[in-house]
């Protein structure tokens, strides 16, 4: 039984890797587990082990070439079936690719190809698929010999791969018994279907159930992730995995800001929305972002997008979970307008009537846990943004002010930034400028 040599998916971010060298020549004997070839990923050179023992029968990619992840770059034949190896270095013809193509022969019983012409013997096992379909199949790890062809000239086309993927997602292959056991236990088979071709057996299901039992402490009630929870989970995990997050913390003396707010509140009429410290921070941060464009940025991992406009998202705790409605062009708005708009967005978020538009397009996020008594924390960036400011509580504490030990209103700010986008010093300068305006709020008007 011949075994295909597959390029393993070693990196989340790369579709192809460089084949650095073959450690064996065609015709050499290989032993399962010994190094067979070397690839270069974005991080390192890696030796890849032989997937089986036998003879390296053919090599489909030469050293120095780019090879797609999950593609077949060679074949190991068992010692007894290995053909005498020809001295030609180029890939062997299709007919020499045994076993894995056998299923295809059945699909072309008359051994005819597109257009119905009789195929030469060495082409009879070939799968006919459009380049676009092959590309997608390779990307998604779809074995072409399991796909039903519906395209022109009995060719597999893109829609066939998509149909296969939809079906694979919907119904993982499983034995009927496994399906019944899983259904009874409320286990989603998709969660334990790592291999598209493998059939899930009863033993797999029981193992998964046992693992679930073992992992969960007694008295646990399982609840499926709600759509909001799922979004939060994805975004937070994505943020943690992709971004290089660094958190800076700094203390600010908010005494003057507290005084200013009280003075302002005293002047407000009944109809005015009473600005909170969050509103003051939105105002200060938005205007500082205009001066620190690298903090007012988004990234897709390949590029950095500096935003001309400042749209500040504000984290809101709702029954359905965390939401971050966006205050558009916050740098251009006054305190009362910000307070009014934020109050309205918060109300809509709490009532569950906020729209996706109102939750998207932010360029920076502020999250305030001060009202819950938190001093400092490490907020997680709201992707694709480059930074987030965590606001702690303001509380009276002993401090040195103008050379005197006295009681001041102190707070902590926690700025998490994506080090891929911006370095520590500019982030620290931004944080310093924010602190300066908190401590000397009259500077805002300069």
């Amino acid at each position: 039984m011949a075994v295909d040599i597959i390029v393993p998916p070693l990196s989340q971010t790369m579709d192809s890797v460089l084949l650095v060298e073959w450690l064996k020549a065609v015709g050499d004997e290989v032993v399962k587990g010994e190094p067979l070839f070397v690839i270069e990923t974005d991080k390192a050179h890696l030796e890849i082990e032989a997937p089986a023992s036998g003879i390296l029968q053919e090599v489909l990619a030469q050293a120095g070439s780019e090879v797609a992840v999950r593609s077949t770059i060679g074949v190991i034949a068992s010692a007894d079936e290995a053909r005498p190896v020809s001295p030609r270095p180029e890939p062997a013809p299709e007919a020499a690719r045994p076993a894995s193509r056998a299923a295809t022969a059945a699909r072309h019983p008359a051994a005819t190809g597109p257009g119905g012409q009789l195929l030469p013997a060495e082409r009879q096992q070939r799968i006919f698929a459009s380049p676009r379909a092959r590309r997608l199949a390779q990307q998604e790890g779809v074995p072409l010999d399991e796909v039903q062809a519906t395209g022109p000239q009995q060719m597999i086309v893109e829609r066939d791969i998509r149909a296969y993927l939809a079906q694979r997602k919907a119904v993982p292959k499983a034995t009927p018994v496994a399906r019944r056991v899983a259904e009874a236990a409320g286990l989603d088979l998709a969660t334990l279907a790592p291999l598209p071709a493998a059939r899930i057996t009863r033993a797999d299901v029981e193992a998964a159930l046992a693992a679930r039992e073992a992992a969960a402490p007694a008295g646990v009630q399982w609840v499926d992730l709600s759509p909001t929870r799922r979004t939060i989970a994805c975004r937070m995990a994505e943020s943690q995995q992709a971004a290089a997050e660094v958190t800076l913390t700094r203390q600010a003396d908010a005494t003057e800001l507290v005084r200013l707010r009280e003075q302002i509140l005293a002047e407000l009429s009944e109809e005015d929305t009473r600005p909170t410290y969050t509103d003051f921070l939105v105002l200060i941060v938005a205007r500082q972002l205009k001066r620190h464009p690298h903090l007012n940025a988004i990234t897709d991992g390949e590029r950095i997008g500096l935003s001309e406009e400042v749209h500040v998202a504000v984290a809101v705790d709702t029954e359905r979970g965390l939401m971050a409605p966006v205050l558009r062009n916050a740098d251009k708005k006054g305190l009362l307008q910000l307070a009014r708009e934020r109050a309205e967005l918060v109300r809509r978020a709490l009532d569950g009537i906020i729209t996706p538009e109102e939750l998207s397009g932010g360029t920076f996020t502020i999250t305030n846990l001060g009202s819950l008594g938190v001093d400092a924390f490490t907020p997680i960036i709201n992707p694709p943004q480059a930074a987030i400011l965590g606001v702690g509580r303001i509380c009276p504490a002993p401090a040195v002010h103008e050379g005197q030990l006295c009681i001041r209103q102190l707070m902590h700010l926690s700025l998490t930034f994506d080090h891929r986008v911006v370095d520590g010093a500019p982030a620290a300068r931004f944080l310093g400028d924010v602190v300066q305006w908190i401590e000397k709020p009259h500077l805002i008007w300069l």
């Binding site: 380049p131 676009r132 022109p152």
Partner: protein, 337 residues
């Protein structure tokens, strides 16, 4: 915005360029003669009243002479707009166009240039094989020539003005069925592509194609008359749930390749419609480019809808069979699904 036919738009372009630049003049057969049509298709009608017969220059029936005078004048610093009554007659000029006009700038190391505009009507219109060919591919094949093929009044004016200002020889292919369906020289079966043309000065840059209709399922590339047939085909296909994207390259050399490639990357299918004969045609070149540069995005073979490899027939019934129509384009598209 003024609404006008392609013939009127071309006339306006010539008038504006002649007013703008004294070096611009027209040369051709019967283009300014008293009581004449203003060329074979009325494009120069009335221009001799304003510019006189020295700048609207009528020649004997000798295409060789037209080409010789125009190319010589261009070499000497003038900016001639020459025309032939039927594109087919360009073959008479072939040595001067292919061996002289196209090559002199290159061979002189840029010391001379040939800012020539050569207008040529193409397309089958019941006038027989010597007055009906679509010659675009011949001229696309010659390095040193630019080739444009406007299909709307807006493009006709904008591209002709760009051609006059270009320092290289530019062949402007115009389709006989697109000049307009009214007037003394309108051809049987002519379309009436009356289009909006801005009052103010504008140019259509040479080398920019345009998406005439957006779609996600198949890309149809077509120019001149075939562009309209492709749009009609797209309407029929839409009824069957297939959204065709129709691309009009407008300029054939230099080709806006990326526009076509981007569309194919989106749709995965390509049909090229042209009125020229199949073998060695312009459609074949587009197909080759896409097969080469977007192969991996293709979900079906590339189809050409071209005229068969026979001379354009005289008999109207045969001509109708010869020139590709929307039904043939629809059939080619459907074969890809």
């Amino acid at each position: 915005m003024a609404r006008m036919s392609i013939a009127e738009a071309l006339r306006q372009a010539i008038r504006e360029e002649m007013r703008r630049d004294e070096r611009v003049f027209c040369i051709g057969e019967d283009i300014g003669i008293e009581g004449g049509f203003g060329g074979a298709f009325t494009v120069t009608l009335g221009l001799s009243d304003e510019f006189g017969h020295e700048r609207i220059l009528d020649t004997p029936v000798s295409e060789t002479a037209i080409a010789g005078v125009a190319i010589g004048a261009a070499l000497a610093g003038m900016r001639p707009i020459a025309d032939v009554q039927y594109g087919d007659f360009l073959f008479c000029m072939m040595d001067q166009l292919a061996n002289q006009a196209a090559k002199l700038r290159y061979m002189s190391g840029g010391q001379v240039s040939v800012p020539l505009v050569m207008r040529a009507p193409v397309g089958a219109t019941a006038r027989g094989a010597q007055h009906a060919q679509s010659l675009e591919a011949f001229f696309c094949h010659i390095p040193g020539l630019k080739v444009v093929a406007p299909a709307t009044a807006y493009d006709a004016k904008g591209l002709l003005k760009s051609a006059v200002r270009d320092d290289n020889p530019v062949i402007v292919f115009e389709h006989k069925l697109l000049y307009g369906s009214k007037g003394p020289r309108s051809e049987r079966g002519a379309l009436s592509p009356i289009g909006e043309v801005p009052e103010e000065e504008y140019l259509v840059p040479i080398g920019q194609g345009i998406v005439r209709r957006e779609g996600k399922d198949v890309t149809i590339v077509a120019k001149l008359l075939m562009m309209y047939r492709a749009l009609a085909a797209a309407d029929i296909l839409a009824e069957q749930g297939i959204e065709a994207e129709v691309i009009d390259p407008r300029t054939l050399v230099p080709l806006d390749k990326e526009l076509i490639l981007a569309s194919v990357r989106k749709t995965g299918r390509l049909v090229i419609a042209e009125e020229d004969n199949l073998t060695g045609g312009w459609a074949a070149e587009i197909a080759a480019i896409v097969a080469d540069e977007a192969f991996i995005w293709l979900d079906a073979p590339i189809k050409r809808v071209s005229a068969p490899d026979v001379p354009p027939p005289f008999a109207p019934l045969l001509e109708r069979e010869y020139v590709p129509n929307e039904e043939k384009i629809v059939a080619a598209v459907l074969s890809l699904f």
